[in-house]
């Protein structure tokens, strides 16, 4: 969709660091605080086993949250992430059972991209509100997943298991932790160092200004949903490696968990302002909460109450931060009123 006037040169957007990084501070501080609290409960011991448990728990949620961040940055929402994870997870298990091996992983990534593409096309061309569109496709994808694998089972490649669980070599550093760091780095690079990322943030800041500035609004938005689909596929693949099988109910918790992690990570639901690192940290926060409750001997039943309170509290903290003269708020106000200056 060439929405841009064809006469304009399609030059590379000059990227400048936008001072939205500080919104990730809140989740960073939460991670630190929860971690210290965790240590006080365990008597200042933190071994490889604990690190493994927390990072393995956080990794799939973090990947789902990264995908959700792309969509929320466009002022949309993707409620089909849980179902896309499920589809990818069960497809991987079934394909590997039939001996596709490594090719299955590539195929599953493609499936995630197609599912995301479908979401994006429905939102852009049928012009159905993202919430409804993705809620509907969520039902469709879940139905397809149940067709593919009605009950838990199947296998995943052994190398995938080796690359998702356990520690790096003989060290005490979990592989999942490495993936978390890589996800943050990759997310930062895409958002801050590519045309797509910068246009994505512009689009979320002000759609009409982005359109006037020659950004192909439709293409960027569709790509955001595709990115969410690919991230969901990654989460589904990782879950396959962690559970060593496929499960058609595995994605259900990620439907709202991803949104929760993004919110805790400081990304604005109004679009345009947010960080990938924040979302990854948000996922770590949610995993740390359950770990802290576990070591404190508190019933896991309380986990839901604490998680709910943290999500609401984090949003309050972020809005307070913005109201107290946050740079992000100022910038987003400016962005929504005036078209961005030609760089």
């Amino acid at each position: 969709m060439s929405a841009a006037p064809s006469g304009l040169p399609q030059r590379r957007v000059v990227t400048r660091p936008r001072l939205t990084w500080h919104r990730a501070y809140t989740s960073g501080c939460l991670v630190a605080a929860l971690f210290v609290f965790y240590l006080t409960r365990t008597g200042w011991t933190f071994g490889g086993i604990e690190a493994l448990g927390i990072t393995n728990d956080a990794l799939p949620l973090a990947l789902a949250a990264v995908g959700e961040t792309f969509v929320i940055l466009t002022n949309g929402i993707d409620l089909s992430i849980g179902s896309m994870i499920t589809v990818c997870n069960v497809t991987l298990a079934v394909l590997d059972t039939h001996g596709f091996g490594g090719f299955a992983v590539v195929l599953v990534l493609g499936i995630g991209a197609v599912a995301g593409l479908l979401n994006g096309l429905i939102v852009c061309y049928m012009r159905i509100a993202p919430l409804i569109a993705t809620l509907a496709t969520s039902s469709i994808y879940l139905g397809i997943a149940l067709y593919i694998l009605p009950s838990p089972g199947g296998t995943v490649p052994q190398w995938l298991i080796n690359w998702t669980t356990g520690d790096i070599g003989s060290s005490n550093f979990p592989i999942a932790g490495l993936w978390l760091v890589l996800a943050m780095a990759a997310g930062w690079a895409v958002l801050r160092r590519t045309n797509f990322g910068v246009r994505l943030q512009a689009l979320g800041g002000s759609e009409s200004s982005s359109f006037s500035a020659g950004i192909s609004v439709v293409r960027v938005r569709v790509l955001a949903y595709v990115a969410a689909g690919v991230c969901s596929a990654l989460a589904g693949i990782v879950l396959g490696g962690l559970t060593e099988s496929g499960d058609p109910t595995i994605g259900a918790v990620y439907l709202l968990g991803a949104v929760a992690a993004v919110v805790v990570g400081g990304t604005s639901l109004a679009g345009g302002v947010g960080t990938i690192a924040g979302s990854v940290l948000g996922a770590v926060v949610l995993s740390l909460v359950s770990a802290v409750l576990l070591v404190s001997g508190i019933s896991a039943n309380y986990q839901y109450i604490v998680t709910g309170a943290i999500v609401i509290g984090a949003l309050l903290a972020h809005s307070l931060q913005s109201k107290l003269g946050g740079v992000a708020a100022e910038r987003s106000r400016r962005f929504s009123r005036d078209p961005p200056a030609e760089p």
Binding site: I77, M126, Q303
Partner: protein
Amino acid sequence: MRKGPHSYVRPAEVVVPYGLVAIALVAAGIAVPGFLSSSHLSALSISAAYIGIIAIGQTMVLLLGGIDLSVPYMINLAAVFMAGLQFSHVAGGADFLIVVGFGLGAGLINGLGVALLDISPLVMTLGMNSILEGVALIYSNGSPQGSAPGFVTTLATGGTTIPYVVILWAALVAIVTLALVFTRFGRSVYAVGSNRRASDLSGLPVKRTIITAYVISGLSASFGGILLVGYSGQAYLGMGDAYLLPSIAVVVIGGTSILGGRGSYVQTVAGALLITVIESALITVGVDQPGQDVLYGVVILLMAYLNRVAISGSGRRIATLGGAIGPLRGWLEPVRPTGRRRDGGDDGDAKIA
């Protein structure tokens, strides 16, 4: 200007969903023998009544441009409480009031968070859902006890020719519809949903309207939970999860815009009837659960598209479909009946999150 309350609903928006219900009924009646028998229709109307009653609050919240994602555990918690209080021998009537009171309280907290603290409805109700889930788990300790009190079972499943719950639903339809059209609260819901800032500047009680809508949502979901425990006899954890999508779907299928300001509860009723008929027809012709899920999603997409383009939109909108400006404009602002109630756009307000 016409005399009397100016309608926010165009006749076509009401006629078309009901027409589709009629078509679905006739088609199912032809395809499935006995579909239109009085016993089956009675069973259908009971299912429609449950989801219809649950969707009362969701309709109002969506009309305001908000959303209530705490419906699943509002339902579940009410069901767990109802059975649990029966187990602890709390007198009939008192247990009902306690459960409904709890739903009111949770809805009130939702409303206060959204209206006063300006928390995004999506996050507020999402967090509330998580909290209510925790409360349900702690109260039941993982395995809900007790069973539905007799009067609840009677209310949910009893009745002679017409089930009691359907009579109750009919009364609620009349009350809610009249309230939305004629009361100050109802008019405010539409006004705030159309343009919150303008409503605020016009002196409407914006915050009170929002809080009331979320309270009603908590009430109706709790009441739905009571009905569901009456239907199944016992409460179990996760029984509300299946109602998150339907509670929004029936509103959308009826043609109410989730961006707020356009729609009505009468349309939601049509949506509830339509989805119930389609679901029942699919089951009777032997479509399995995955197939139902897929078709459910497709129906929602088609109806959302139909409502937006064919019924509410004009031919011009269809002509611009796929044009460069089309996706941009359509995404930013809801399609509205041209020049009927509003003049300006609400750039920037037209987002639900």
